[in-house]
């Protein structure tokens, strides 16, 4: 699983959680909240979809790691690799 793959996984989830957002130009190094209208309910959903679809647990203390696509990739890619993906 490359970091690009991880970013795509996160984008796919956001597309389902917030279908009314335009995801065509999301900048990977900018906080998601600064370019999309996502509130705490939406972030909770991203975490829960990661668990549901990919068996990845994100403890509450680590939520800040999901701030941007880049930080998501840094944080989640090793977790995917640990699951053999």
């Amino acid at each position: 699983m490359t970091k690009e793959d991880t970013q795509q996984v996160v984008l796919d989830i956001i597309a389902d959680v917030a279908p009314d957002e335009d995801l065509t130009n999301v900048k990977p190094d900018v906080r998601l909240r600064d370019q999309l209208e996502l509130d705490s309910m939406d972030f909770l959903d991203i975490v829960m979809e990661l668990r549901k679809r990919h068996n990845i647990e994100v403890p509450e203390a680590d939520y800040p790691q999901l701030a941007s696509l880049d930080s998501c990739a840094e944080y989640l890619t090793p977790k995917f690799e640990a699951l053999g993906k």
Binding site: P19, M41, D42
Partner: protein, 474 residues
């Protein structure tokens, strides 16, 4: 006990809030079952058929309507959380609504889904109050109304800081109270903010086929997510062990074990399902109930000469009294609704005209009537209510109305209690809300009316919030 009937979560009641909670829980893999005593879903916002004609109960209009692209409002949050596309609700916007006060509606404020219209109406009728009104709106906009632990404040008190004209004050409170207040004469400011935003800053819409479009969408989502549902099977008792709920006993005597329970049936109604600990302060039963008359007409209301109002909130006295009626009905104030007057897609029109009038009523008075006089009183009040409401509409002769009349129906507090199980026929539940949704048992939670988010969208958000907060986040 049969382990095949063990659930992660049991939900009591298949109304809007119970269904929404169920969708969230089933979507995230919980084994969940909704038990509903009635044979139809919807609870306080349901529908019934009579002589092949479908009647909506509850829903005059869906409040909280915002157009596509407006984000961060209750409607948008709800659609995201339930993974519903807004097209599925088929929402058509209102034409225009009014608040009309005075013996014949001499003072009138029109509003639409464009807030600027309402603001200019306030400026026209109450030029000296417009600065205060704008300050009030700014306070409303900046208030955190979804906070689960806000301190209760009197809405009258906050509004009076900005508005000094009692007539304007009452004209603002009338729609807000009629569409959601369980409290007489005043309401908690957070509740006022939720309703003010829902009615004035957001707006009204309706699916062409009424409330059943929304209910069908919810039921389909719930089923697709793997949720189970049992109809005509209420929960009559919550079984506890060592201070926790372990199971529920159904109306047919069967026992179903569960880890957690969400109850949408109201706080006083839920508290009766198990014996409360010593010193527990029982939630009061709401005092406010309503009657509604429904007339089905051959022609569109517009063709009869009634214009294109969607909703009219009326009051004929100097002050607006939002209290339980002392007589069976209080016809001094009320709400008129014409479901025909929404801008349905492609200029579609409902096949028949519908004229609905809602007034405050007294539950005990209706409850105590013997069957024969109950019917007679209904018929008598029907005429009184309609006559009262028609004072606030353009004049249409009795003969014209009579010639167009196809069918009528009417519900009373007795009907509401019978079909929804809400004690006292209290549509907006107990005056004491439980924002956190907690009960005297650590694994039983409330959602719906008595959790305190109001309106249809509020009800669904309540189910979502409580499922998230107590179960999914845990």
């Amino acid at each position: 006990m049969n382990s095949a009937h063990h659930y992660d979560v049991v939900i009591i009641g298949a109304g809007m809030s119970g269904l929404a909670a169920g969708i969230r829980l089933a979507h995230f893999g919980k084994k969940v079952c909704i038990f509903e005593r009635h044979n139809a879903v919807g609870g306080l916002n349901s529908f019934y058929s009579q002589q092949g004609r479908k009647f909506d109960v509850g829903l005059h209009a869906l409040t909280n309507f915002v157009r596509p692209g407006v984000k961060g409002t209750p409607l948008t949050k709800l659609l995201r959380q339930l993974r519903i596309s807004r097209d599925e609700f088929q929402l058509a916007e209102q034409k225009r609504s009014r608040v009309a006060f005075g013996p014949n509606g001499e003072t009138s404020l029109t509003f639409t889904n464009d807030f600027a219209v309402f603001e200019s109406e306030v400026a026209r009728e109450f030029p000296g109050q417009i600065d205060g009104f704008r300050a009030l709106v700014a306070t409303v906009r900046s208030y955190d109304d979804v906070s689960l632990d806000a301190k209760p404040v009197s809405a009258r008190h906050v509004v009076r800081r900005h508005i000094s004209d009692l007539l304007l004050e009452d004209m603002l409170f009338c729609p807000v109270m009629y569409y959601g207040s369980a409290e007489e004469q005043d309401m908690e400011f957070g509740q006022f903010v939720i309703m003010f935003k829902a009615l004035f800053l957001e707006g009204f819409a309706r699916p062409f086929d009424g409330v059943r479009v929304i209910l069908r969408t919810l039921v389909d989502k719930y089923r697709a997510a793997g949720g189970e549902r049992r109809m005509k099977c209420g929960v009559r008792r919550v079984i506890t062990r060592e201070g926790r709920a372990t199971a529920v006993e159904l109306d047919d005597g069967a026992v179903v074990t569960t880890d957690q329970v969400i109850s949408s049936i109201g706080a006083p109604e839920t508290e009766r399902l198990w014996s409360q600990p010593a010193g527990h302060q029982a939630s009061p039963v709401g005092a406010l109930s309503f009657v509604e008359t429904i007339s089905i007409l051959q022609r569109q209301p517009r063709e009869l000469g009634w214009g294109d109002d969607t909703i009219v909130f009326f009051n004929d006295r100097e002050r607006f009294d939002y209290v339980a009626a002392t007589d069976e009905v209080d016809p001094r104030s009320g709400v008129i609704c014409f479901p025909n007057n929404f801008n349905y897609e492609n200029g579609q029109e409902l096949a028949e005209g519908v004229f609905r009038c809602t007034c405050l009523a007294n539950h005990a008075q209706w409850q105590n009537l013997p069957e024969a006089s109950y019917r007679q009183r209904k018929a008598e009040w029907f005429q009184v209510i309609q006559a009262s409401a028609r004072r606030f509409l353009p004049a249409v002769s009795d003969q014209t109305l009579q010639e167009s009349l196809i069918a009528t129906d009417m519900f009373t507090p007795r009907t509401v209690e019978k079909f929804t199980g809400h004690l006292g026929g209290a549509i907006y539940g107990s005056p004491r809300k439980h924002r956190q949704g907690t009960t005297s048992l650590p694994n039983v939670y409330l959602c719906g009316t008595d959790q305190g988010f109001l309106g249809i969208i509020g009800a669904m958000l309540s189910g979502i919030s409580m499922a998230n907060y107590h179960i999914l986040r845990g």
